[in-house]
């Protein structure tokens, strides 16, 4: 039991009459790389929002490190060690990369309530920021305004910011969406080089990318659990091919 980091127990999310996520259960082990796949509207992002608390689950339980966090506020879950990126880039565009990192780093430190103190990095903070920027390959861009970064670099910064606070669970919502092929390679390299003690759950549409990155795949369809398995099994699963990879008929 102790090696299960994240446990979803019959989780449902209902918006009025619509069941966006319906009775999904899964266990993610510590250190695992897990993908959640499924066609558009399968409920992947809604499930993420239930895990991180942006739209809490309306039924079932979300258990993180043995603690029931189903009703916890998003900022409380962040303090427990969850961190996420967003499907649509969600940064502070008028600030520099470094200032974005400062805000990210202080999210979990009492420093955020320093009213009259300096906003410069402390030595410890600088080290953490540089470490996270190095993993995301952005260290040369620290002084650049975020709105002047390329889209790919903004996605890399998203990762750096989520890594900064040393999370134990990293949730990546379509980290490669909208990227050029060369930028995808960078992002997948970044994901591959994440420290192995961080558990990663990611949503991704690009099957080739996702199946090369993870060791276990969960497939959703219409808000419900459809299948799960190792990447090789998923490739050959006919149910999944029907709902998700159905485009093979093109050939």
């Amino acid at each position: 039991m102790s090696d299960v980091l994240l446990k979803l127990d019959h989780v449902g999310v209902r918006f009025g009459g619509l069941k966006a996520v319906d009775d999904v259960s899964l266990n993610v082990k510590r250190g695992e790389r897990r993908a959640i796949i499924g066609p558009n509207g399968a409920g992947k992002t809604t499930l993420f929002n239930a895990i991180t608390g942006i739209n809490p689950a309306t039924s079932g339980q979300v258990i993180f490190e043995g603690r029931d966090v189903t009703r916890a506020q998003p900022h409380a879950r962040a303090a427990f060690g969850m961190s996420r990126t967003f499907q649509i880039t969600n940064l502070f565009p008028t600030l520099t990369v470094e200032q974005n990192m400062q805000i990210a780093l202080r999210g979990l430190s009492p420093q955020k309530f320093s009213f009259f103190g300096s906003s410069d990095f402390t030595a410890d903070e600088r080290q953490k920021a540089e470490g996270a920027l190095a993993i995301s390959r952005l260290n040369s861009r620290a002084q650049t305004l975020v709105r002047e970064l390329s889209y790919g670099e903004q996605r890399q910064l998203e990762m750096a910011m989520t890594l900064a606070t040393g999370p134990r669970l990293l949730l990546l919502d379509e980290p490669a969406a909208g990227l050029a092929p060369s930028e995808r390679i960078i992002v997948s390299d970044v994901i591959r080089s994440l420290p192995s003690d961080i558990t990663v759950v990611l949503i991704e549409h690009d099957m080739d990318l996702v199946l090369s990155l993870v060791d276990w795949v969960t497939c959703l369809n219409n808000g419900r659990f459809l299948a799960e398995g190792a990447p090789a099994d998923i490739r050959n699963n006919s149910d999944i091919q029907d709902v998700y990879l159905g485009r093979r008929h093109h050939a």
């Binding site: 942006i54 969600n90 008028t94 999210g107």
Partner: protein, 325 residues
């Protein structure tokens, strides 16, 4: 109105602009010290008024420019402080200094009440909610005649003897405004101030980074009310009279216009905005009684040609010039 926040130029932290900032600060400070020596008494009191309104405008800017929450309730917070200070020193016969402190405390408590109700909202809802809360305060001041004097207002007990001279009072206000402004400057450049900018740009991101957004907004609102309360208390000594017009919506609007004219999200722009609007008011009212119309037109003009405000505009031009060279 949340677009106001995104216009702010937040490049004040690079070394080159810091140099320019120090230079303009030095010039501004010099002007503030020399002005009362060359101006006649009445005009000194106008400059005093500019300082007081600049503080009100800065308190609004902390929320509007940094946290992206535009308040129309700060006139009421300011005016409550004025009411309490004057009530204490006249009706209660208390000491004026205690009255000022009580005024600031009352303003801070009122801001906390406003904050509890308003921080759940943003954009135009925040604007309307703070406006409505301010109107309630105005209504109470208007109707609670036995305490507030209703429409007639209340006359103060007079300034202490050493502050009666216009120049003396001016320097006393300046001595308070300078450290208060410095503390506001530290506030918006502290980690807390950066968190407010983060909330302005993306609340969902801040939540998932571990920030309790509502708590931050609550604290920001209360602190902002505290500063508006200081301005209101100074105004009690300055004006020595208070009536419902001091808590009226038009004061909130003027304060906001000053912050916008100077440059929302620039903090010190509030001094420029307060000077521009107050001077314009004094000049225009020599020629016409239609000051509000002129103010309205001025505001439209600013929104079209320099929505980032005077200081914001200058910063942008300087940044562009620097890029070209």
């Amino acid at each position: 109105m949340s677009m106001l926040g995104s216009l702010s130029a937040s490049n004040l932290d690079s070394p080159r602009s810091r140099k320019g900032l120090l230079l303009s600060l030095a010039l501004g400070a010099l002007a503030l010290v020399i002005l009362p020596m060359i101006l006649p008494g009445y005009q000194i009191s106008i400059v005093t008024q500019i300082l007081i309104f600049a503080l009100l405008a800065m308190s609004i800017d902390v929320l509007a420019g940094y946290a992206g929450r535009t308040s129309l309730g700060h006139g009421a917070i300011f005016g409550l402080s004025t009411y309490v200070a004057i009530y204490w020193s006249t009706t209660m016969g208390g000491h004026i200094w205690v009255g000022l402190l009580l005024g600031i405390v009352a303003a801070t408590i009122l801001a906390a009440i406003f904050a509890i109700l308003a921080i759940r909202t943003s954009g135009v809802y925040f604007l309307l909610l703070t406006l409505a809360l301010g109107m309630i305060v105005w209504g109470v001041c208007q109707r609670w005649t036995s305490v507030t004097g209703g429409e007639n207002g209340m006359r103060g007990a007079g300034r202490p003897a050493f502050l009666i001279d216009h120049a003396h009072f001016y320097f006393a206000v300046l001595l308070i405004i300078i450290p208060v402004t410095w503390s506001l400057w530290r506030l918006v450049h502290s980690p807390f101030g950066w968190a407010l900018r983060g909330i302005r740009d993306s609340e969902s991101r801040m939540r998932s980074l571990g920030y309790n957004v509502q708590l931050h907004l609550f604290i920001a609102f209360v602190l902002s009310g505290f500063y508006a309360g200081i301005a209101g208390a100074l105004y009690a000594v300055f004006n020595d009279f208070v009536s419902p017009s001091t808590v009226q919506l038009s004061l909130s609007v003027s304060g906001l216009l000053m912050a916008i004219t100077g440059g929302i999200g620039t903090l010190l722009g509030s001094f420029v905005g307060a000077a521009a609007i107050t001077s314009l008011e004094n000049i225009v009212s020599i020629f016409t009684e239609r000051w509000p119309s002129v103010l309205g037109l001025t505001f439209i003009f600013i929104m079209i040609f320099a929505p980032e405000g005077i200081v914001g505009r200058v910063q942008l031009l300087l940044a562009r010039k620097h890029q070209q060279s």
